[in-house]
């Protein structure tokens, strides 16, 4: 079991820098998800930790030891590949045995380890098959077996579920988490799927263009996104982001976004007037999740009025897109809320869950 720390990790391929000074600390036994759109450098970070790529600058520590220049096997990190990378000419048993044979363990020890791994992953019936004779889920379990059999201190998983169909993916997700609970091995898990991240991660590290955006628990990343990128990336549908300016009102600051005028209650928003005043007249975004917008067909209710543009029933919810001037705001309603396209409604924001993203895109809540 080990703690993984990366410090100012940078990786360039020629002129192309794909990881930019990323620092991250993964606690011993933690399950951390690296999340980001494709090409954001999340897989590269994983490969850097594993030792499959060579670090341009920065440090990687496993269990307090700098492993930048240590061969992959000595880092004692297991890697689960997206396409499993099973050796096609070896049986399941041989595949699982390969790392142990490489380590020159005695035969009976190897057999014991294989048996145990097979038991954990329910592979007993499949040990003499070739990978080509297995289903996707089975291959995935073989890949896991090959990873755990070495008793590594860190699991590195690179989108291990992306080749499975939706149902199997959900099931395997649960199995993976059970496995983690059972073994308690520090795990870094790469995915581009935010649902996967939300459900699996103890913490999520969100990346964009090689830069770390936010490292937080799933609920924090959802409730308090660090910036507009995270705000839009987490949650479906994404957070409403309304562009506008902060103007000085009579007693309080107001947000003016092309017809959407919102009085900003800084204490409710967890901000101070000082912070807001710094952004006075700057182009900012007001962010609010669909579930934190109240909608009413009663036009006398205080708020901003707009027209219903789309209705998207998803079964559990009804998402209503309200257009106000050139801005659209998505609102989550209970499933059978009576709404008519084209009708005029009033919306109001729950200020305790409303965020202001400064001109640089970062959430003002985080700058204090």
């Amino acid at each position: 079991m080990a703690e993984v720390i990366i410090r100012k990790l940078t990786k360039s391929f020629g002129d192309n820098t794909v990881v930019k000074s990323v620092s991250l600390k993964v606690e011993d036994g933690e399950f951390l998800v690296l999340l980001g759109p494709s090409g954001c450098g999340k897989s590269t970070i994983l490969r850097l930790i594993a030792g499959l790529e060579d670090v341009t600058s920065g440090e990687i520590l496993i269990n307090g030891e700098i492993v930048n220049f240590v061969s992959p096997v000595k880092r004692n990190a297991a890697f689960v590949f997206q396409n499993y990378a099973l050796y096609p000419h070896m049986t399941v048993r041989k595949n699982v045995a390969f790392p142990l044979e490489t380590a020159r363990l005695p035969k009976d020890e190897i057999n014991k380890a294989i048996d145990e791994a097979a038991r954990i992953l329910e592979l007993q019936q499949l040990l003499d098959r070739l990978p080509s004779q297995l289903s996707g889920g089975q291959r995935q379990r073989v890949a896991l077996a090959r990873a755990i059999v070495r008793k590594p201190v860190v699991f590195l998983m690179d989108e291990p579920l992306s080749n499975l169909d939706a149902q199997l993916r959900q099931q395997t997700r649960i199995e993976l988490m059970e496995l983690h609970q059972r073994l308690g091995v520090t795990t870094i898990y790469v995915t581009h799927d935010q649902i996967e991240a939300m459900t699996m991660g103890k913490r999520i590290a969100i990346l964009k263009d090689g830069e770390l955006q936010q490292v937080d628990t799933p609920s924090e990343t959802y409730d308090k996104p660090a910036n507009t990128f995270v705000a839009r990336f987490m949650g479906a549908p994404p957070m409403n982001l309304i562009q506008g300016r902060i103007e000085a009102g009579v007693r309080q600051f107001t947000f003016n976004g092309d017809g959407i005028l919102v009085t900003l209650n800084s204490s409710q928003m967890g901000l101070t007037d000082e912070v807001l005043s710094l952004q006075l007249n700057a182009a900012v975004c007001l962010g609010v999740r669909p579930e934190h917008v109240r909608i009413s067909t009663d036009l006398s209710v205080e708020g901003v009025s707009g027209k219903v543009k789309f209705l998207e029933p998803t079964g559990a919810d009804l998402f209503v897109t309200v257009s106000i001037g050139i801005q659209n705001v998505v609102v989550r309603c209970p499933p059978k809320t009576p709404m008519q396209i084209g009708s005029t409604v009033t919306i109001a924001f729950d200020m305790t869950h409303t965020h202001i993203f400064g001109a640089d895109g970062w959430n003002l809540r985080r700058s204090n």
Binding site: F79, Y87, F98
Partner: protein, 299 residues
Amino acid sequence: MSLKSEHTKELHDLALQNSRIRRTKSVIAYAVLGLFVFASVGPIIYIISPAFRESKSLFSYPPQWLPNSFYLGNFKFLLSETNYIRWGINTFIFATGVTVIALIIDTLAGYAFARMEFPGKKIIFGLVLATLMVPTAALLAPTYLLVRNLDDWTFGLIGLDTYGGLIIPMTVSPLGVFMMRQFIETLPKGLFEAARIDGASEWRIFTRIVLPLMKPAVVVLGIFVFMMQWANFLWPLVITTKDETRVLTVGIATLQGQFVTNWGVIAAATLMTLAPITLVFLFFQRWFVQASMAGALKQ
């Protein structure tokens, strides 16, 4: 009801017509294929007759097709008056030696070019490929002198009239390295990384992962190299001086006198030379035919 049966009949006719077209097509296809097989094998069959005739009656007038007697003199001559068997053994050792060594160094180098990172890789690979285009005849003399001078350096291992001298210079084939590299590049990158994570050294990755997977490509390259050396003439010619160290192609060439060619003997020698290689070929053809050349040669 009647409408329906009419329709069925129509369909039936159409199917019949289709199958007739298909059959005609396949008859034509096999006829064409047969023609090409005839063109391929015919010339070799054509020299069976001269091999069993006395040279004197080869081009007699009017043309004589079948030998009037089953004349074995040409074969007897080859077996008793020449070192034919020895040439055959030498050819086999030569071609096998080159093949084995070439396969080893080509697969190793192919692996390095495909899966290893080192400074100057592109330049080195480019240079290696450029030497693929050098006319071999032009390098004959410089290579010969090199081998000659290597005699002292290698304690006679690589020198004139030695298997070392015959074999080693021919093992260098940029094409082989190119083919192996191409093949290894088609293998999923993850395999190599998984093996590295599993703690395998490059050598273990190579022997346990790469070699088993590239068996078809290795066989194809092996057959290719073997054929090339089996047919090689100029190099064994200059590097061997003694009759006992010669290979078949050279030995047979020395049978030709100035301006005089003993066609019967040449025909017999050609047949006898084809016999063992045909056996080797038939033995490996299952491999060869199964081996996915597309894999070996894929871009």
